[in-house]
């Protein structure tokens, strides 16, 4: 190699200069190329996800093959250049050729940039559409949540369950719609990517070297995007999972509330039952002790208020209003006194220290 340099110093120098120029050009083109998708990506992080995940492996393979063949072509060109230099072709000719090549390359690059911008615009439009779809989906989720809230307010358990089921179905339907929209979007983006690849292929054919480098960069960018997309996909999945969990929690809370309400109702019913049993027990005991004296008249009534100690012992009997004669009134008082201690309720929270009795002579 060194010998080679020594023998043809001018040619070697020219070759190095040419290479440096090429590298510089590629660097500039990369910079232009590399920034636009990155900025797009930062603007619409979620869209990238779907783009990346949906690129089929075959497309990637195709591109890789193309890149390989481009490499081989470049190798050949270099060899040719080397042999031309060895034949000592005119430096001016070479320089002119290089200038032409660069001009063409720049034109190509411009074309590529334009096509990329177009693609980006198209992509943005798509993203906006996708965003709208997302927003709709979010609205759907929102309305779904509202429906859930509404359901929670419902007291009737059966209705609430039915509505919850309906809401669940709506949610699933919305999720399915979302998935479908995502799939459609992904397909669209796929198509877009394929188109992009085709444009790149044309470019690569015209400027193999630049194309190769750019392709490599594109590959790198693609991979980065892919990674980012994967990450975002994971994020989205996590988010979806979180939303699902939240919904499940809300449902659980709702169910718990319903259950608690049901338990309250049950408790109320049970309390009513205990109270009824308590009253019945008192009634039975007092009634069994009531020896209504002969001579009573059917319309006779006697209202008394009693107070009792916590063990049911009657402490006081107050006759409020009483028909009939003294014997009748006494019989009422006796009935209560004889029924003392009064039965206690199964649940002492229902115990009442004061009870009103109405004694009716008529059976």
């Amino acid at each position: 190699m060194f010998r080679w340099f020594a023998r043809m110093p001018l040619a070697t120098l020219l070759a190095i200069v040419l290479h440096l120029l090429i590298v510089l050009a590629i660097f500039i083109s990369f910079k232009m190329h590399a920034f636009s998708p990155a900025s797009e990506a930062s603007n619409t992080p979620t869209e990238q996800t779907i783009q990346a995940t949906s690129v089929p492996q075959s497309a990637i393979d195709q591109q890789l093959n193309r890149l390989k063949s481009a490499d081989a072509q470049r190798e050949q060109a270099l060899k040719q250049q080397k042999s031309e230099a060895e034949k000592a072709q005119a430096a001016a000719e070479l320089a002119a050729s290089a200038r032409r090549a660069e001009q063409a390359r720049l034109q190509q690059l411009e074309a590529l940039r334009e096509s990329r911008q177009q693609a980006a615009a198209a992509q943005e439009a798509q993203l906006k559409a996708a965003q709208a779809a997302q927003k709709q989906a979010e609205l759907a989720l929102d309305s779904q949540q509202k429906a859930l809230e509404k359901i929670q307010q419902e007291t009737a358990r059966a209705d609430a369950q039915k509505q919850a089921a309906q809401a669940e179905a709506a949610r699933e339907k919305a999720a399915a719609a979302e998935a479908k929209a995502a799939a459609a979007k992904a397909a669209e983006l796929n198509k877009q990517a394929a188109e992009k690849v085709a444009a790149e292929k044309a470019l690569a054919e015209k400027a193999a070297k630049a194309q190769a480098d750019k392709a490599a960069e594109a590959k790198a960018a693609k991979e980065a995007a892919q990674q980012k997309a994967a990450k975002e996909a994971a994020d989205k999945a996590a988010k979806a999972e979180a939303a699902k969990e939240a919904a499940a929690k809300a449902r659980q809370a709702q169910e718990a509330a319903l259950k608690s309400q049901l338990q309250d109702e049950l408790r109320t019913q049970q309390s009513q039952g205990v109270l009824n049993a308590y009253m019945a027990a008192i009634k039975n005991k007092v009634q069994s002790q009531w020896y209504k004296p002969p001579g009573w008249e059917p319309q006779w009534k006697c209202n008394v208020r009693i107070s009792q100690a916590s063990d049911g012992t009657v402490i006081n009997v107050k006759v409020l209003q009483c028909d009939g004669d003294q014997l009748f009134q006494r019989s009422v008082q006796q009935a209560i006194e004889r029924a003392s201690p009064l039965p206690l309720p199964a649940d002492m929270s229902l115990f009442q220290s004061s009870i009103n009795f109405e004694f009716q002579a008529k059976p």
Partner: protein, 436 residues
């Protein structure tokens, strides 16, 4: 996040709901209807005594006769205490008795002295504690007085057990061998005393309100006349001897008048004799039968039987204050009336398909509350106990007739026992002395 807030919100709501009482138990209202009709269950424990008296059985019979008590028999008593200290109330509360009478009898010279206590079983309260004494001969009156006190304490109504009844007996035999007696006995038929004995029929005794005299119809001299007899001295005089019927005397509540039936030379009518002036006032004067007068408490108004509307019915009339008002409507035969001491209840002998039975209705009710008291079918004119709670009447039984006592409250009757013969025309005497 919002779901979490909702979750906690619901929990708090649930806690709040739990904190609120689930059942409103601010006031319990319990209706007791019916009950079991029963006289007041009362235990009269045999009195502790070294004498051979048995006051408790007399007291039990008195209380039972009132219809308002259901005394326990001695074998139903869990124990036989004689003082409140000996009473174990828990033991008694387990039984049926609502009230408990315990006591003792001691002989002190020629008298018996009883000490008794009336106790409320349910609350252990002592309702009465008294000492009562009487000559040995009047031993039963001690029991009647105790019964009166118990009755008053529990019912609020003055007892009428320590009272007398007057009635007529007739011994069977050939017409010229028949004997008629006028008797006075305790309210339970015990201790009968003959105040007059005659070979001529005796009828319709009526008590003076102070209980010292009887007026009655006697056929001595083969014609009817109204006689008045002093029970303490046995002295008697003839009040009326008008031609025709002299019957159905009724002593006025104030004791100054006697209403009676005189036919003179036409149909029977109601008259009033002033006992001070002997002035005679005619109350009824139509051509129908008017008889069996009795007095309202106002000492003015008379209630009597008249067939002026076809069949015998009860009418009411105040002399000098308009015409008579018919009181009975429900039955085809209503006669032999008596007015309760408070003037609220009319008792009568009502006839119909079931024979002649004792019935009552309120004097102001127009017959709406008419009801039968007896169910024998061959009863005679009733008489009120002075406290208005019982009626005494004769009832034919087999070849003879007996006296029965029915409480106005409730059903059933108690037959007073007599040695033999026909017993009729009972008249229940007034309270004796002041209320104890």
């Amino acid at each position: 996040m919002s779901a979490r807030i909702q979750h906690w919100g619901l929990r708090i709501l649930a806690l709040l709901l739990l904190a609120v009482p689930m059942v409103s138990v601010a006031e319990l209202n319990i209706v007791i209807s019916g009950g079991q009709e029963s006289g007041v269950p009362i235990a009269v424990v045999p009195f502790a005594t070294t004498t051979n008296t048995d006051l408790s059985s007399i007291i039990r019979a008195d209380l039972a006769r009132s219809g308002q008590f259901a005394p326990l028999t001695t074998d139903q008593l869990p124990s036989q205490p004689s003082t409140p200290d000996q009473v174990q109330f828990d033991q008694w509360r387990a039984g049926k008795a609502q009230y408990l009478v315990v006591g003792k009898v001691e002989q002190q010279g020629g008298a018996y002295q009883a000490t008794f206590y009336l106790l409320n079983v349910s609350n252990g309260q002592q309702m009465a504690a008294r000492v009562i004494s009487a000559p040995i001969a009047a031993e039963r009156s001690i029991a009647h007085r105790i019964a009166d006190i118990v009755f008053k304490q529990i019912t609020g109504i003055r007892g009428a057990f320590d009272t007398k009844i007057a009635y007529v007996t007739e011994t069977d035999g050939p017409v010229n061998k028949r004997r008629y007696t006028l008797e006075v006995a305790d309210s339970d038929g015990a201790n009968p005393q003959t105040v007059l004995s005659s070979t001529y029929p005796l009828m319709s005794p009526t008590w003076s309100p102070d209980g010292t005299k009887l007026a009655y119809v006697s056929f001595e001299g083969r014609r009817s006349g109204i006689w008045v007899q002093d029970l303490r001295t046995g002295q008697r005089y003839q009040l009326t001897k008008f031609p025709g019927i002299n019957g159905a005397p009724s002593w006025s509540p104030k004791g100054n008048k006697i209403a009676l039936t005189l036919s003179k030379f036409s149909s029977p009518n109601i008259y009033i004799v002033d006992l001070d002036t002997r002035a005679l006032t005619q109350v009824t004067s139509d051509g129908s039968i008017n008889t069996e007068a009795s007095w309202m408490p106002n000492n003015q108004t008379l209630v009597f039987t008249s067939d002026r509307s076809g069949s015998p019915q009860i009418f009411e009339q105040t002399p000098g204050a308009g015409s008579a008002q018919r009181l009975t409507f429900g039955v085809s035969y209503a006669a032999g009336s008596a007015v309760s001491p408070d003037g609220k209840t009319l008792a009568m002998l009502a006839g119909g398909n079931g024979g002649y039975r004792v019935a009552v209705q309120s004097l102001s009710g127009g017959g709406n509350d008419f009801r039968y008291i007896s169910n024998g079918g061959s009863e005679e004119r009733p008489s009120f106990a002075p406290n208005g709670t019982m009626l005494i009447y004769a009832s034919q039984s087999g070849g003879g007739s007996v006296l029965k006592v029915s409480p106005l409250a409730g059903a059933g009757s108690q037959t007073l026992r007599f040695a033999s013969g026909k017993v009729r025309d009972p008249a229940w005497g007034p309270f004796q002395g002041a209320e104890q």
